[in-house]
Subunit: 409 residues, 2 copies
């Protein structure tokens, strides 16, 4: 029976087996490697990312990223941020708004300058250099959120600052990208840039500020009036999709909309909605994590010079966020500043999107594209280790015991 | 802003907006129409199917079935049957095995004979006639299961017989299809047919009979040893995908594997797994239901003769299952026999798959394909009404009150 060699089937099959087979391979390998990593005292979440590298094109070649898996990964990220949003009060986030803005701003400037500078020293063309700088700007908060939520640390002041700064950082990253795209095209349209800024900021501020109050008025009506099963959950899903969509139209990432949707509902939906949403995120988040690993392509590193550049860029990506965000949060003390800096390190899919755009615009070479993708994955894989150090001694380990407590609760 | 005209975007966009936009359109319209249907005292589930017809190619044209939506629909059907399986003890199902086999067998023969006969009277070619007969054979149990689960009727003897008969019916449907495919190709390979029968029956019987006992031994180990969050749920998902996959390899539908996976776990997983799985199914089942409606294409019915044939075929599809399955269950009394017959009426996606195969093999014409698809949808849409009559006075209505009880529990 062909059942025994998944590689053969996965690469050839487009029949009905494709869906359960690819889901089984990704989900089971992610959970298996998470288990192995936890057993040797390492973050299980890294195991889930590595599972994607393993089954992906770089190692076993069982699966390549395809439309279906990409869609599941995207949904996984949305539900992860939605669920994190459900645990966060918007008033708590607005309170740390000032610090978070400072953290985000310095944390955008330092990586951009450092990344562009390194590429210029490497004698890359100016356009390529500023594209790489831009790709190092935006934090992908998914991994950090997953680690902090898993360890029950979302209530800490540093966690709130990380979340708020990541949202602001996404808006700033959009502006940097818009500016870079027009500069490299030879003309900077200030009006366009201003409108982009206004739309993205407006969406985030309006939903962040008035979302909770609106949801508090609307949700009881929905619960009382809507004649469908699990009405509050159905409403929550509609809001999640609607705000993710509006976020995209406003120019920011879908996950920012998903986070804002969760936060808007945090104080008004019943506990049952949290549980049902958790079911979806337990299923889909492994596809988000393994999906990051799936995109790693090690073939770009046959040249030693590329490998050296990659190492330098990764180091710069880590150090620049640590210093940039840390400086922005320095008034909270060195421990908190260190934690916040660490939490902002992962670039995840955001860096990849910028690199992809640079590639399609013909601004960066295939090799540099490989370097940026590798930087995005590396900063994401290293983040749980960094956070483990930063939060040593507080919070729970992601362990079986904790899980059992959760089951009983 | 282009936000205002979804049709434009949906048909042109392949960007990041595609996923949240299509999910919002399907999910929100399904829930909205479910609400409207419930308000006028009709089954909400029919509203969800009609929502698919409305936003689909036949009416508004906002969305056409695509790979992503088809995958979500398939997953939705899998999770629906998985969750139904979780509520069913395999021992209860095995007890009604004899009656269920009789129900399935007579319920396969009558529609096949009637469907083939009508097409022959219509002077269709013999091959086309037996393909239409084959497409009327297999019950799609999703809709019935959703209605019975929604009204809290899964514990009834008639519900168990319907579930068991639907599984057996799927195996028989496979054999009819295999036989029909080889006959229309001009040669009937008895060895092949025997192997197909053996594999499909073997898979179903082995998993149905020993699945529960195996799960009861394995699940406690998984809970105690696996170092990942929500370990029993992670294990359940692996089993769900693995058995769905094996079901496909064994020749039966993925949803049969999903149902068997749920049933195997019914007596060993903690309540928490039910809740998490329900989250996924609450999200995805509307895509399964609306997905049925999405596939309706009314353009085949411009010819009056095709429309008349469609009406005759639909009537035959309903009456033949009612009579066939009812006869098989007659010893339980006329009320139970009537309920079981009604529960077996929907053909759903199974009929469509057969018609699709006939179309690709060049055995049936585009017009007849349209008729079979319409029959599949029509029997599915009518089923909740029939079940409402059949189970009048018992069980709960799918109402807001019930939902509130579920939330509190």
């Amino acid at each position: 029976m062909q059942v025994l060699h998944p590689a053969l089937i996965l690469l050839t099959s487009s029949g009905p087996a494709r869906i359960p087979l690819s889901m089984l391979v990704i989900f089971a390998s992610a959970k298996l490697l998470a288990d192995v990593f936890e057993r040797v005292g390492q973050p299980g979440i890294v195991g889930e990312i590595i599972a994607g590298v393993l089954v992906g094109p770089s190692v076993l070649g069982w699966l390549a990223p395809n439309d279906f898996l990409t869609a599941l990964a995207e949904l996984g990220a949305m539900f992860l941020l939605f669920r994190v949003g459900l645990e966060v009060k918007s008033s708590d986030l607005l309170k740390v708004g000032g610090t978070a803005t400072l953290v985000a701003a310095v944390g955008v400037i330092v990586p951009f300058v450092l990344g562009t500078g390194i590429l210029l020293l490497w004698r890359a063309p100016v356009n390529e250099a500023i594209f790489v700088g831009a790709s190092m700007v935006a934090t992908s908060v998914g991994i950090t959120a997953r680690v902090l939520a898993g360890r029950g640390l979302l209530h800490l002041i540093s966690s709130r600052i990380i979340l708020a700064a990541a949202v602001i950082d996404d808006v700033m990253g959009l502006l940097v990208l818009a500016a870079v795209s027009s500069i490299t095209r030879g003309r900077l349209n200030w009006l366009d840039l201003g409108l982009t800024a206004l739309l993205a900021t407006g969406f985030t501020v309006v939903v962040g500020k008035w979302g909770t109050a609106t949801a508090r008025r609307v949700v009881p009506h929905v619960e009382a009036k809507l004649r469908v099963g699990e009405a509050p959950f159905a409403f929550a899903m509609c809001l999640l999709f609607a705000l993710s969509l509006l976020a995209i139209y406003a120019g920011v990432a879908a996950i920012v909309g998903a986070f804002l949707a969760g936060m808007a509902l945090a104080e008004s939906v019943p506990r049952r909605v949290h549980d049902l949403a958790q079911g979806v995120s337990e299923l889909l988040v492994p596809f988000f994590l393994a999906g990051i690993g799936l995109r790693v392509d090690l073939s770009a590193f046959r040249q030693t010079s590329t490998a050296v550049l990659a190492a330098v860029i990764i180091a710069a990506a880590i150090v620049s966020k640590l210093i940039g965000c840390g400086l922005g949060a320095l008034k909270l003390g060195r421990t908190e500043a260190f934690r916040i800096g660490m939490g902002m390190v992962p670039r995840g899919e955001v860096g990849m999107v910028v690199a992809q755009l640079g590639l399609t615009m013909g601004m960066i070479s295939q090799n540099i594209y490989g370097v940026v993708v590798f930087m995005s994955v590396a900063t994401t894989v290293i983040a749980p280790f960094l956070l483990k150090i930063a939060y040593r001694g507080i919070g729970q380990e992601w362990s079986v015991e904790q899980d059992e407590v959760a089951n009983i609760a």
